[in-house]
Amino acid sequence: MGEVVALTVGLAATTAALLLVLATPLAWWLARSRSWWVEPVAAVAALPIVLPPTVLGFYLLIALGPSSPLMALLHPFGVRTLNFTFPGLVIGSMIYSLPFAVQPLRGAFEAIGERPLEAAATLRASPLDAFFTVALPMARRGFLAAAILVFAHTVGEFGVVLMIGGAIPGRTEVLSIRIYHLVEQLKWGEAHLIAGGLLAFAFLAVLAMLTAGRRLGRIVP
């Protein structure tokens, strides 16, 4: 049981950390660019919200499998496939939760508006400097929301991890899948324990987001 919890938390934390880093430039571009490509790209990034997890899992299974051209790049390093491995789960979870990082970040960046960045430029801050010293701190609510949403959403995912993880105990079996197995084996007591725990966790995560968001304060320019 302990190792399932550790694996679930480890997966959610790794996914949240990596995804925040990777989604930030994408969200920044979506918020600031006037390119014709913004909305099509935003739509692709939002697809995981509407796609059945099994569809996503199916394509990932192929993309991370030994005969995929993507994996061919890793063959020289002795990696044949990422299916049924922790890194594979992380990649799958990142794609599955991408919209939950991009949307709040994009919203937070858009809310900053043009003026603070123009002001920073007149104070000799280069665009990169202004990004780190003005945009990031002003968008902190968005980062907090994105981190909590991605973490909680990853803890709650089922279809994708089942498809590409295969639920190998100790390696790729996470809490949501363990419940499924327990119920199949009619071990309702243990299932209750995990289900109740996840319910409490979900409530606390959302509550934390709402209250911490308020404590950080709405930034009025």
Binding site: T122, L123, S126, A130
Partner: protein
């Protein structure tokens, strides 16, 4: 040495800017015109916040021509926006230090000097959200000074303020004028402000500079100051007449004054409202 030599040409939506002017290397040059005449756009072009065709030279340095365009953060300017533009996530002190740390080289204007000059001491630890409009603008002016600008650009810094807040800031601006030797371009549509602050007057209308002349009575003797004070208390209509008279007197008396364009008829430069 010349101060600012500028020429810009371009379109924003339905508005066309076609402005050329030169401003002296010292003192306050007021850019005066009715709303919608292109004052702010012109100022933003000088700051590099807006990009139009043209040429811009400041104190012998080319900031923009056919090939070059110095980005805003490389231009030694200070800029005071019309609306409050303090960084909301930093305290007043944080905002001032943000500017000072990036100014590079030796600070000609120090933190203490600015704090003293603008009376910012009691505000230093506060957040911008907890300041009044007048206080915010004072901090914004101080912050602009701490960038050690070679050219200070002010876009109607008093326009959004109540009469009380205006009266509170004007003396600070006058003190700045006396204490600091840096050219200022001051956008305004308020004749009273201009009468108190400006040494040189540029009039802009429908995107074109229509007149450029030194202001009369820029000297700093007490009698003059009293006269200015009186001017500042005049009714707007009276003031407009006076400002016009001043401009026209300047035009007649000064050989250096130029009139680029006065579109004929009874229409005279100045506000029409």
């Amino acid at each position: 040495m010349s101060g600012v030599e500028a020429r810009f040409e371009g379109r924003r939506g339905g508005f066309r800017l076609e402005a050329a002017f030169s401003a002296p290397a010292r003192g306050v040059t007021a850019l005066y015109g009715p709303s919608g005449s292109g004052k702010t756009t012109l100022l933003r072009c000088i700051a590099g916040l807006e990009r139009m065709e043209g040429r811009l030279e400041v104190k012998g340095q080319v900031w923009q021509d056919g090939r070059r365009f110095l980005p805003t953060h490389r231009r030694p300017i200070g800029y005071v926006f019309q609306e409050p533009s303090l960084l909301p996530h930093l305290s007043v002190k944080g905002n001032l230090l943000y500017a000072l740390r990036r100014s590079g080289g030796a600070a000609r204007v120090g933190l203490e000097e600015v704090v003293g000059l603008l009376g910012l001491e009691p505000l230093l630890e506060r957040r911008p959200a907890r300041l009044s409009g007048g206080e915010r603008q004072r901090v914004a002016i101080g912050r602009a000074l701490l960038t050690q600008p070679e050219l200070l650009l002010m876009d109607e810094p008093l326009a959004g303020l109540h009469a009380d807040a205006k009266a509170e800031i004007l003396p600070y601006l006058e003190r700045l004028h006396a204490a600091l030797d840096m050219p200022v371009i001051y956008v305004s549509h308020d004749a009273a402000e201009i009468a108190r602050l400006a040494d040189h007057l540029l009039t802009i209308r429908e995107g074109r500079i229509v007149a450029s002349a030194p202001m009369r009575g820029a000297a700093a003797d007490p009698l003059e100051a009293a006269a200015r004070d009186q001017v500042a208390r005049m009714a707007p209509d009276e003031l407009r007449r006076l400002a016009l008279a001043a401009v026209l007197a300047g035009l007649e008396a000064e050989s250096s004054a130029t009139v680029h364009d006065i579109d004929g008829g009874s229409d005279r430069p100045g506000p029409t409202s």
